[in-house]
C-alpha cells in the first residue's frame, strides 16, 4: 500500500531528520556556534543495485572532499515505483534535496504539485548544461513555462539487435535500414524449420498486450524514427495525428498480417535469447544480459528501420532518467553544487562502467576519457552514437494512460487488423485529447 509505505518512509525520514538535528547541534554545544556549519543534503538514486553502488561511491567521494556539505544517500523502496514514492513524498513534504531518478513523463505531476525548483535560476546553469549536453538534446526537457526543472542525466536508446547467425543462414548480409528491407529480410527469416506447418523462428516478436510501457519498445521509438525526432506532444498539446504515426501502425500491421511476428506470447523465456527470433528492439542493458546469459549468440546492433523515403539521421527513443532539486530543500545552492558534481565527466565514466547506461553528453566518442571503455565494450559504441539522436518522453499529464490508450489502438490495428492505421491513429489522438482536456 503506497500510503503505508509513504507513512513508513515519512516516519523514517523524520526520525533521521531528528537524529541529524541532534547530531548537528551536539558538537556545537560546547564550542558555541562556530563557522563550521555543516549543511546536510539527502540524495535519492534509483533503487537498482548497480545505481545504488554508483551512488554510494559518488557520495563517499563527495563527503570526503566537502566537509561542510554532507550528503546522505537514501534508496527508494524497491517494492514500488519511484513515481509513486516521489508523489507521496511531495505531498508529505518529505522529498529529498536531490534525486537522480526522475522520469520525464512524471515531471508534469511533480511540478504541478510544486515539487521541483527551476534549475536555470543558477547563473552557471547554461554553461554547465551546454558543456555536457548539446542544445538539441537539452531543449526537449524545457518545461512549458520556459524553465528547466530537470537536467538530463542518462538514457537508454532503443535499437535493433539482430542475430548474425540467423541473418547469414538466409543470406541477408546487412541490417535492414528501411521498412522494405526489413520486410524482405523478415520474409526469409520467418521459417518453419521442421516442416510441421508451424513457424519455429520468427523475424521478430513483441509483447502484444496493451500495456503502456510495452509501446516504448515498438510504436514509440519507431514513431520518433519515422518522424525524424518528433515526440507525441508539441507545447503541451497532443500532436501525433500525422503520417509518421500512420506509417508506423501500418508497418506493425504488416508484420503481424504477414506472420513475421507471432500473435501469441512466447512461453519459456526470452525468444531472442533462445534464438527463436532474429531481431529484438531493446536498450543497452541487453548487452550485459546477452553477455551473461547467452554468450554464444553472435549479434550486432543497428538503428531502427525507417520508412523507405526517409532521409537523415535515424532517431529513436530512450528511457531518460534526469536529475532534479526538490522544493523542500533548504540549501538549493549546495544541492546545485552536488548536481554539478554528479555531472562531471569522470563520474559519467563511472556511470558507464558501473551501470552500462549512456550519460547524456555530446563528447562520449571524442573525449579520450571514455576511449578505453568503448574500446573494451564495442557494442556500446553503437548506443553512444545513437544517444545524440535520442528523444525522451513528453512531460504530459497522465502520460501512462495516454500510452495505454495508444496501446489499445495499436492492438486493434496492428495485432488484430480490426482498424486501419488512419482510424487507429485518429482514435488514439481523440482519446489523448480527452485525457489532456480533462487534466487542464
Amino acid at each position: 500500500m503506497s500510503r503505508g509505505y509513504a507513512r513508513k518512509t515519512l516516519l523514517a525520514v523524520s526520525v533521521c531528520a531528528l537524529m541529524s538535528w541532534i547530531g548537528c547541534n551536539n558538537p556545537r554545544g560546547p564550542e558555541g556556534a562556530g563557522r563550521s556549519e555543516v549543511v546536510e543534503l539527502t540524495y535519492w538514486p534509483a533503487p537498482n543495485p548497480q545505481e545504488v553502488q554508483l551512488a554510494d561511491t559518488l557520495v563517499r567521494r563527495w563527503n570526503r572532499t566537502h566537509p561542510t556539505i554532507q550528503v546522505r544517500m537514501q534508496s527508494i523502496p524497491v517494492s514500488q515505483s519511484t513515481e509513486e514514492v516521489l508523489l507521496a513524498a511531495i505531498a508529505g513534504k518529505t522529498t529529498p534535496d536531490v534525486c537522480s531518478n526522475i522520469w520525464p513523463g512524471a515531471l508534469h505531476e511533480y511540478t504541478r504539485a510544486g515539487g521541483l525548483i527551476p534549475l536555470d535560476q543558477f547563473t552557471d546553469f547554461d554553461s554547465i548544461a551546454l558543456a555536457r549536453t548539446p542544445r538539441d538534446l537539452l531543449e526537449p526537457f524545457r518545461s512549458e513555462d520556459g524553465h528547466y526543472y530537470q537536467i538530463p542525466w542518462k538514457t537508454n536508446p532503443v535499437m535493433m539487435f539482430y542475430n548474425l547467425r540467423m541473418f547469414e543462414e538466409v543470406g541477408v548480409a546487412k541490417a535492414p535500414r528501411t521498412y522494405s528491407e526489413f520486410f524482405a529480410a523478415a520474409k526469409k527469416l520467418t521459417r518453419d524449420l521442421d516442416g510441421d506447418g508451424q513457424i519455429d523462428v520468427w523475424a521478430g516478436e513483441r509483447d502484444i498486450r496493451p500495456i503502456w510501457w510495452q509501446r516504448l519498445f515498438d510504436f514509440y521509438p519507431f514513431y520518433i524514427a519515422a518522424s525524424g525526432g518528433k515526440t507525441l506532444f508539441k507545447s503541451g498539446e497532443p500532436d501525433f495525428n500525422d503520417d509518421a504515426a500512420r506509417i508506423v501502425f501500418q508497418f506493425f500491421q504488416e508484420c503481424y498480417q504477414q506472420n513475421y511476428f507471432p500473435h501469441t506470447y512466447f512461453q519459456g523465456g526470452d525468444p531472442f535469447l533462445l534464438e527463436k527470433k532474429a531481431t529484438h528492439f531493446s536498450g543497452p542493458w541487453e548487452v550485459a544480459t546477452l553477455h551473461s546469459l547467452a554468450p554464444h549468440i553472435r549479434y550486432d546492433v543497428a538503428p531502427l528501420p525507417v520508412p523507405d523515403d526517409y532521409a537523415g539521421p535515424v532517431y529513436t527513443s530512450g528511457d531518460y532518467k534526469n536529475i532534479g532539486v526538490f522544493g523542500t530543500t533548504k540549501h538549493p545552492r549546495e544541492a546545485w553544487e552536488f548536481v554539478k558534481y554528479l555531472l562531471q565527466a569522470e563520474h559519467d565514466l563511472l556511470l558507464l562502467l558501473t551501470t552500462n547506461q549512456i550519460p547524456v553528453r555530446g563528447d562520449l566518442l571524442t573525449n579520450p576519457l571514455f576511449a578505453e571503455y568503448f574500446r573494451q565494450n564495442s557494442k556500446m559504441v553503437r548506443f553512444a552514437e545513437q544517444a545524440v539522436s535520442t528523444r525522451g518522453v513528453d512531460a504530459a499529464p497522465d502520460l501512462k494512460e495516454i500510452l495505454d490508450a495508444i496501446s489499445q489502438e495499436y492492438e486493434a490495428c496492428a495485432v488484430y487488423g480490426k482498424k486501419t492505421p488512419t482510424e487507429a491513429v485518429n482514435d488514439a489522438f481523440r482519446r489523448t485529447k480527452v485525457i489532456v482536456e480533462w487534466n487542464k
Binding site: 498486450r209 489499445q408 488484430y416 482536456e437
Partner: protein, 297 residues
C-alpha cells in the same frame, strides 16, 4: 404497527434498549454507507490522486465520461455478458431443476455436485478455466482436435472472449439457480397438474401452461441476481484476460479498478462508479417491471 410508529411513543422501558441495540449499526451506517455516499458525491466534481490536494473541476468528470470509449465499451461488454449469461443460465438451470424434481435416486448427490462450483472461490474457477481455455494446450481444444475439429480461440479472439467468460460464469453460478428453480418447482401446487392431466393436457403443455407461469417470481429473482452479478464482474477478466483482447472483456468494475488504482484517478473512478450504479438500478427496475407485467400466456 409499522405505520403508526410516530404516534407510538415509547410506552415502556424497552425503547432505550432498542437504541442501544441499533447503535452499532447506526455508527456503521454512518461510516461505511452515509459517509462514502456523501464523499462519492463530492468526488464527482473533483480530480484527485489522493497524494496531492483535491482539485475542483466542475463537470469535467462527466464530460470526460461521455467522451470515454472505454466507459461505453464496459457497458456494452456487460450487456453482451448478460445477454449470453442470463438465457443460458435459465435454460440450463431450469432443465436440470426439472430433472432433479422428478422421482430420482441420488438426488442429493447430483444436487451437491451441481452446487460445488458455487461455493468454490471465483479465483479457483478462473485459474482452472484458464487451463481449459488455453489455445495450444488447453483441455477443451485438445478434446476438439481429438475428435477432428479445429481449435477454438476461446480467449484470444476479441469476438469470443466475452462469450467464453459468460460460459465460465454460467458453469460457476448455475448451481444457485438450479436450487432456486427447484424451490420454485416444489411450490407449484400438485392439484394444478392433477386437474390438467384429467383434462388431457400433455406434459409439454403442462410445462408451458402451468410450470412456467408459476415460476415467474423465480425468474424475476434469477434475472435480477444475474444482472447484479454481471455488473460486479471483476475477478474473471482480471485474472483471465486483464480486460483484453481489444478491451472486449473490460468489465465495469475492472475499469473502475484501473482508473482508481492504476491511474490514480479517484474522482473519475468515483464518477464511473456512480454512473454504473445508476445504470444498474435502472436496468433492474426495468427488468422487474417487464417481467412482472408480462401478460400470462
Amino acid at each position: 404497527m409499522k405505520s403508526f410508529w410516530l404516534f407510538n411513543l415509547p410506552r415502556h422501558r424497552y425503547a432505550k434498549t432498542g437504541y442501544w441495540f441499533v447503535l452499532p449499526y447506526v455508527v456503521f451506517f454512518g461510516g461505511f454507507v452515509a459517509y462514502p455516499l456523501i464523499f462519492s458525491f463530492i468526488l464527482l466534481f473533483h480530480r484527485w490522486n489522493i497524494v496531492t490536494p483535491m482539485e475542483w473541476i466542475g463537470l469535467k468528470n462527466f464530460e470526460r465520461l461521455l467522451n470515454d470509449p472505454l466507459f461505453f465499451k464496459a457497458i456494452l461488454n456487460t450487456l453482451k455478458f448478460l445477454l449470453i449469461h442470463i438465457p443460458l443460465q435459465m435454460i440450463i438451470a431450469l432443465g436440470i431443476a426439472v430433472l432433479l424434481n422428478s422421482k430420482l435416486k441420488f438426488r442429493g448427490f447430483f444436487r451437491a455436485v451441481f452446487f460445488l462450483p458455487v461455493v468454490v472461490s471465483g479465483v479457483v474457477v478462473t485459474i482452472l478455466w484458464q487451463q481449459l481455455y488455453a489455445f495450444d494446450s488447453g483441455l477443451l481444444n485438445r478434446m476438439l482436435t481429438a475428435v477432428g475439429f479445429g481449435r477454438v480461440p476461446w480467449l484470444i479472439d476479441p469476438d469470443m472472449a466475452m462469450l467464453s467468460i459468460a460460459l465460465m460464469a454460467t458453469w460457476k453460478n448455475v448451481g444457485i439457480y438450479i436450487i432456486l428453480f427447484l424451490v420454485g418447482l416444489q411450490d407449484v401446487p400438485r392439484e394444478l397438474y392433477e386437474s390438467a392431466s384429467i383434462d388431457g393436457a400433455t406434459r409439454a403443455r403442462q410445462f408451458f401452461r402451468i410450470t412456467l407461469p408459476m415460476l415467474r417470481p423465480t425468474f424475476v429473482v434469477v434475472v435480477v441476481l444475474s444482472t447484479i452479478g454481471g455488473f460486479s464482474l471483476f475477478v474473471e477478466p482480471y485474472v483471465l484476460t486483464g480486460g483484453g483482447p481489444m478491451e472486449s472483456t473490460l468489465s465495469a468494475v475492472l475499469y473502475i479498478y484501473n482508473q482508481a488504482f492504476y491511474f490514480n484517478h479517484m474522482g473519475y473512478a468515483a464518477t464511473l462508479g456512480f454512473v454504473f450504479a445508476l445504470i444498474i438500478l435502472g436496468v433492474v427496475l426495468l427488468q422487474r417491471k417487464v417481467i412482472e407485467t408480462e401478460p400470462t400466456t
